[in-house]
Amino acid sequence: MLRYALVRGALLIAGLLVSSVLIFLTLRVFPGDVAQLIAGTQASPAEVDALRESLGLNRPLLTQYTDWIGGIVRGDLGTSLLSGASVGEELFLKAQVTVPLGIMALLIAILIAVPFGILAALLRGRRGGTALSVGAQTLAAVPVVWAGMMLIVVFSVWLGWLPPQGFPRTGWSTPGRAIEALLLPALTIGIVEGAMLMRFVRSATLQAAGQDFVRTAAAKGLTRTRALIQHGIPAVGLSIITVLGLQVAGIIVGSVVIEQLFTLPGIGRMLVADVGTRDLIKVQSELLVLTGFVLVIGFLVDLLHRAIDPRQREAA
């Protein structure tokens, strides 16, 4: 286990390094002059040059990179090129919207996927099972932003139950209103992600149903369904954990679009705005934080999987 954790940890570090280099190089080497953009079209070449100098964009690439990474290792995510504000502080502030949104979305996705996925597998070949599979297949093809719009139409415009957009200025000091504001966005991401996860749960359940231990349990007198629920489902749970990393990535991506639709002041909306204004330092730090998060989740999921799956332990 320790050996595995070390090897997997080394891969995580390598992943973080490769990501940081890729993000950095893409943002620097590709054409497009940030200084020119910030200075505007009216600025003289001398002014643009001076700005470039003061932003530190004239220094050798390697120095810029090591400065950035050095800062991050010390917990300093840099400052905005435009406003001079600390990126870390803003990220922390926006995370108070995005993290609860993500957790709610993940819970909703699991609550949808697990019961319906198992049901779809149990009813395979029957009309109900086919309907569930077709429903999941269709929902997985829905663009997240449109799903959000349809939920706004139903729950805000028609029923008037939930606010269509926005987040209370008072934030989490009014928890009821904050949760109310996050409910529709979380439901949107949760439904679409849940539909994808449901297909996975279904096939994992079917796979489990074909396993020898389920057949043995059925042979010694349990009904097929009971055998599957008692002995097959734990195996399903295990394989759901392996796609959790993928789900987290999906939720992060979903939140970028959904925060825009629901005008939520979260990390996704911040990233979209910063890409629009080409605030390089902010964009590169935000991208690294997001991809780093996905990589760390992947790492933890692998360790967890290893720790609880006895077959994996023995294989080592």
């Binding site: 891969l11 992943g15 490769v18 990501s19 890729l22 993000i23 893409t26 943002l27 590709f30 054409p31 497009g32 297949q137 269709t138 997985a140 093809a141 829905v142 663009p143 997240v144 932003v145 449109w146 719009m149 349809m150 706004i152 139409v153 415009v157 269509p164 992600e193 994808m196 297909r199 996975f200 096939s203 994992a204 079917l206 796979q207 074909g210 796609v243 990393g245 993928l246 990535a249 999906g250 991506v253 979903g254 970028v256 679009v257 825009q260 639709l261 990233l271 979209v272 910063d274 890409v275 629009g276 080409r278 390089l280 964009v283 991208l287 997001l290 991809t291 996905v294 990589l295 992947g298």
Partner: protein, 289 residues
């Protein structure tokens, strides 16, 4: 590629649905380049917010543009982006798979680790990375989906390529004097083609979704280009007053994506009989918008 896989594909309901819808979209894209019921960009304030009726079958928007014509023209963008992304994904995927399967051991393993790392990058983040330097355009979508799915294709194709390369008939071919290059084109690529084409179909579905999502965010099509994502963004502003018009572009995207996904599923069953009874694995990689 013999017609046999095509007839097998046609034999399943899902494969048939996929084929028909994809064909309809392709024909619509073609037709819309010289004919749509109305000019999709011409506004007519007198006709704004007409409900679905003759001659505006899906109604009109806030400036009186015909929604059906806008959707038909948007098909062009969807086809352009999905084919473009497919080409990029093919080139990147096959090159990475070949590098990861057929080269010296250290190159092979480095590529494998690199692919494992790159796969964690969600397509949307790649797109934002590119558009923060290039600004938004359809090329951003094409490159982002192409890179994202290229890596994915490489990951799935690489072990397959390796398996085929170590099989006896390839060894026999090599022994009988085939150069590595001849064996690549004659034996290796044709044998991994099924795995690869299925992936390609799925990546085109992702491209359609990504185009809509990224154009909605302002990183894809420009506001004057016909695009389903732009149309969604346009209609969303009036969702409180005219909630129903937003249904049409969304429904179009959903059906297109569903068809491409089902086509991929059908192709997999049609080309690889051993998969027919195996439970489907999760195929969607880092999800998009």
């Amino acid at each position: 590629m013999t017609p046999r896989w095509l007839s097998r594909l046609w034999a399943t309901a899902t494969g048939r649905f996929g084929l028909i819808v994809v064909a309809v979209i392709a024909v619509t894209a073609l037709v819309s380049s010289f004919w749509t019921p109305f000019d999709p960009q011409s506004s007519n304030i007198g006709d704004r917010w007409l409900p679905p009726s003759w001659p505006h079958l899906l109604g009109t928007d806030d400036t009186g543009r015909d929604i059906l014509s806008l959707i038909m023209a948007g098909a062009r963008t969807a086809v352009f982006v999905s084919v473009g992304a497919g080409v990029v994904a093919t080139v990147i995927g096959i090159s990475l798979a070949a590098l990861g399967a057929l080269t010296a051991r250290w190159v092979r393993e480095t590529v494998a680790v690199l692919v494992d790392i790159l796969i964690a990058f969600p397509v949307l983040l790649i797109a934002m990375m590119i558009s923060s330097v290039w600004g938004g355009s359809l090329w951003v979508v094409i490159w982002a989906v192409g890179i994202g799915f290229g890596v994915n294709i490489a990951r799935v194709t690489r072990p397959e390529l390796r398996r085929v390369q170590q099989s006896d008939f390839v060894l026999a071919a090599r022994a009988s004097g085939l150069t590595p290059r001849q064996s690549l084109t004659r034996h290796l690529l044709p044998n991994v083609a099924p795995v690869f084409i299925v992936q390609l179909s799925w990546s085109m579905a992702v491209a359609v979704l990504a185009e809509a999502g990224l154009s909605y965010l302002g990183f894809g099509a420009s506001v004057v280009e016909p695009s389903w994502g732009i149309l969604l963004a346009d209609l969303q502003r009036y969702i409180g007053v005219h909630p129903l018009s937003v249904i049409w572009p969304g429904l179009t995207i959903t059906i297109t994506v569903l068809a491409l996904n089902l086509l991929g599923d059908g192709l997999r069953e049609a080309t690889d009989p051993t998969l027919r009874h195996r439970a489907a694995e999760l195929h969607t990689p880092a999800v998009v918008a």
